[in-house]
């Protein structure tokens, strides 16, 4: 079967989109491939299609459990049953069953953490792995250094399972991040497929507010008039709840919040309500979005700005996947400046933390258990704690252990990371406040030039908001029927007398 044939047979498409064919062909030739395709351009086909033709299993490393499950769910809906996930949230006996039957699967989705377990990597090392895919590969560079440190070991694991060809996929990676990924994954002279990050159907708009109150007013005005559905990104759980309240009070009734602190059931319900257009607006932290496959999102509003431009691009990239015009709106007030700064410092231990740590541990005895215990009593954030565990483990693997030099290196490393992160925040902020074309400068961050300026580019180039506005009033929440009628509808008993 040819790849065109499979494309129409299995995926229901008549032709490839930009880049897909070239990437798939390189994958077939057994090359390592680095591919950067804009968000919403069908990256997953680049490994899902080869899975039908290659001998052996395709292992896909994915950063989030929800993301993996969405992919599996989608493939199953397309009729492909030989796919599965393998992660720590699954019951032991289910995992064992998957391991036993692993050769029957074509695609296996795993988190970098579970891939480290001997149970899984051992089984994989005894079978044929056709392709090793790292999805959302920018996470390696973005998260790998501190809180998803297992990302840094992917190269090692890949060797252990027979070093199949590697495909690294991302939508957003600056030149530096690309270099970082290639180095960390140990890619061997990879074929580079870099496509423009530009999304011509998304227009950029910014508003700089004088006061915090004004900012909220601007938000309300926009949300009331913009065509939905849309997403509002904020920096904290608390903010998602407050803004949702305010919007509901101001006539945008079909608004809900979404953040990582919610009950799983409610998170799923909110997601599905959004997908099925029962909500106009989701107000969320960055926990929402990855894996949400909704093609007709019409606006993305940033009530707080993210800590780097790649995250920003990822987040606005969720708009307009159907190709229709969409709006990316940035709201800024100078009080927002401290938020990303606070986030990055909480992600890593401080120099003081390291000092406390070195007082607690016994430098002469170097007992690993004691080291690990002392981390817990530092009261670090979850990410900072993971960072410490990783570096302690690394220290104890060294042949010659010199605590003082380890400590100095660690402090140096943290300072370097924070400096880098600050630099990225600074860049993000510069972009927000700049008077130059928003599109050109965002492309500039990825070392790209703008080829063709869309009619509605950004507020600097001149932007008419009309195409993004809705003439209709926001609809109220639908009335509920009596519970008896509802129950009858659920179980198709409408015609039965109740």
């Amino acid at each position: 079967m040819s790849i065109d044939h499979i494309l129409s047979e299995k995926f229901g498409f008549r032709s490839f989109r930009q880049g897909q064919r070239e990437i798939i062909e390189d994958v077939f030739h057994g090359n390592d491939v680095f591919a950067m395709l804009p968000t919403g351009s069908g990256k997953s086909i680049c490994y899902q299609l080869p899975a039908y033709l290659l001998e052996g299993i395709v292992v896909v490393v994915s950063p989030l459990i929800s993301l993996m499950e969405d992919q599996v769910e989608q493939l199953r809906r397309q009729g492909e049953k030989r796919v599965c996930t393998f992660h720590s949230g699954m019951p032991y006996h289910v995992r064992m069953k998957i391991l036993r039957d692993l050769t029957r699967y074509k695609i296996l989705y795993v988190s970098p953490e579970t891939l480290q377990t001997d149970m899984l990597s051992g089984t994989l090392s005894r079978m044929k792995v056709a392709l090793f895919v790292v999805d959302e590969a920018h996470c390696i560079s973005q998260w790998g250094h501190e809180f998803r440190t297992d990302y840094l070991k992917l190269g090692e694991v890949c060797n252990r399972i027979g070093r199949p060809p590697i495909l690294a996929l991302t939508a957003t990676a600056t030149v530096n991040v690309r270099k970082d990924i290639i180095k960390l994954l140990n890619l061997d002279r990879p074929e580079m497929h870099i496509y423009s990050v530009d999304r011509p159907n998304i227009a950029f708009q910014s508003e700089i507010a004088e006061t915090a109150i004004e900012k909220m007013d601007i938000l309300i005005r926009y949300v009331q008039t913009l065509k939905g559905p849309g997403i509002i990104y904020t920096s904290s759980r608390m903010a998602t709840e407050t803004i949702t309240e305010v919007l509901k009070r101001n006539g945008v009734e079909k608004t809900a919040y979404y953040h990582g602190g919610m009950e799983n059931d409610d998170r799923l319900l909110t997601q599905k309500q959004f997908i099925y257009d029962e909500l106009d607006v989701i107000c969320c932290t960055n926990a929402f979005g990855m894996g949400i496959n909704k093609p007709d999102i019409r606006f993305i509003i940033h009530y707080h700005f993210p800590s780097n431009i790649e995250s920003y691009l990822q987040e606005i990239g969720r708009a307009g996947r159907d190709g229709e015009v969409s709006l990316a709106l940035m709201l800024y007030h100078e009080d927002d400046d401290f938020i990303p700064e606070r986030l990055i410092t909480a992600e890593l231990p401080t120099k003081q933390d390291i000092d406390h740590f070195s007082i607690m541990v016994d430098v002469d005895k170097l007992d690993q258990a004691l080291f690990e215990q002392s981390i817990t009593s530092l009261n670090l954030s979850e990410t900072a704690e993971r960072f410490m565990h990783f570096h302690v483990k690394k220290f104890f693997r060294e042949e010659k252990r010199d605590f003082q030099s380890w400590k100095n290196q660690l402090v140096e490393f943290i300072e370097k990371r924070i400096k880098e992160k600050r630099e990225r925040i600074r860049y993000m902020k510069k972009w927000i406040l700049s008077e130059k074309c928003k599109r050109e400068s965002i492309l500039g961050a990825f070392s790209e030039k703008l080829d063709k300026r869309p009619l509605n580019c950004c507020h600097v180039c001149g932007l008419s908001l009309e195409p993004y506005e809705s003439s209709k009033e926001k609809s109220p929440r639908p009335e509920m029927k009596s519970w008896e009628e509802e129950l009858a509808l659920i179980f198709h008993q409408e015609n039965v007398d109740v």
Binding site: G89, V94, E263, N264, L269, Y276, L487, L489, I490
Partner: protein, 357 residues
């Protein structure tokens, strides 16, 4: 004063300064340790076991501090909360105005109702969509066990689906009609069908104009009620019974405790069990306390003489406390904490049964 506050006050009033804030937290949070399970029995709080599952200790602590700040509770030794006089009045007032729903039984039905609900929502959704010939819907649950279960039990052809749908409808109708209107709504609004996704906890509480915590507790209680009725009258609810059949046993003992029980029954000593199971003797002690609570025929005379048991109960009664430390101090060196816990556990249960029987 919101509903959460009254729940906290109720817990504090029952523990009455004999347990720390974290002891209360573990109970509300549903920690499956012998100590917590035992506390539930001891202080008659089992129905609230796990009712605040997922709640963060930090937030809990903050709530306690607020109550303290408002003068509703005192904190003995800084960490043993106890109602103040105004707290006592407040609690009484609250419980008269908005009493706890009587069906609430977190310890017995908490876990069971979670699994039951997951299965029911997914099963109902799948029925609703497939009967509308929609096979590409987004499932409302993502827990692999639940997906697996529904996949296994879901009827294969249209005829049996129609049949299942009508049976389930009738069974649920019967059950829900036994409840207050508002509770039936609380359940049905959360179900998903073709054309309408279920409502979140917050959305339901807004619709029903209930305090979110009251809405949550009433929902839990409604589920416990359903589970109770289904298990009680399997013949009246043959389809719903299938949703519980394979899990109904698993709540009483934690898995590890069950293994310990098997070994104890073979006549092994505590230390031997610990050695075989490669566990600390103190862990086995925890199991034995758990067994004393849940297994009426469990004999504790092997671990403490009858006369010592009497002494412990006597001291507890005279001192008016269930606090281990105080009892131990009064009894001296020859009785250890384990023996006290074991006796209190055993006694509380038989005391309970006498009352009920």
């Amino acid at each position: 004063m919101n509903y959460l506050d009254s729940i906290l006050l109720l817990g504090i009033s029952r523990m009455d300064g004999e347990r720390t804030t974290s002891g209360l937290f573990h109970l509300f949070n549903g920690k499956k340790s012998s100590q917590t399970v035992q506390d539930g029995r001891l202080f008659h709080l089992s129905h609230l076991f796990g009712i605040l599952k997922g709640y963060k200790f930090h937030d809990f602590q903050e709530k306690i501090n607020e109550l303290h700040h408002d003068g509703l509770i005192e904190l003995n030794d800084g960490t043993y909360p106890r109602l103040s006089e105004s707290g006592r009045i407040k609690l009484q007032e609250q419980m008269e105005r908005r009493p706890l729903p009587p069906s609430l039984d977190g310890w017995r039905y908490g876990d069971l109702s979670i699994v039951f609900w997951r299965r029911l929502t997914l099963f109902a959704q799948t029925l609703s969509h497939t009967l509308h010939e929609d096979h590409h819907f987004h499932p409302i649950q993502n827990d692999p066990d639940t997906l697996q279960w529904v996949k296994h039990f879901f009827p294969r052809d249209k005829e049996s689906r129609t049949m299942a749908s009508s049976l389930l409808f009738n069974e649920l109708m019967t059950l829900l009609q036994k409840m207050e209107e508002i509770d039936a709504e609380n359940v049905v609004l959360r179900l998903t069908r073709s054309g309408r996704i279920g409502q979140t906890a917050l959305q339901v509480s807004e619709r029903l104009q209930l305090d979110p915590m009251e809405c949550h507790i009433r929902f839990q209680s409604a589920l416990h009620f359903m589970v109770d009725k289904i298990l009680d009258g399997q013949k009246s609810y043959p389809v719903l019974y299938i949703f519980l059949r394979d899990i109904k046993q698993s709540h009483a003992l934690t898995g590890s405790t069950r293994k310990t029980y098997q070994l104890i029954n073979k006549g092994l000593q505590l230390e031997e069990v610990a050695a075989i199971r490669k566990l600390k003797p103190s862990t086995i002690e925890d199991h034995l306390v758990e067994l004393a609570i849940h297994v009426p025929e469990m004999d504790i005379d092997r671990y403490i003489t009858e006369s010592d048991q009497k002494r412990i109960l006597e001291v507890s009664r005279i001192l008016g406390t269930k606090r281990l430390k105080e009892i131990k101090q009064a009894l001296g060196e020859d009785i250890d904490y384990f023996q006290i816990r074991l006796t209190l556990a055993k006694y509380e249960v038989s005391h309970h049964m006498e009352k009920e029987g």
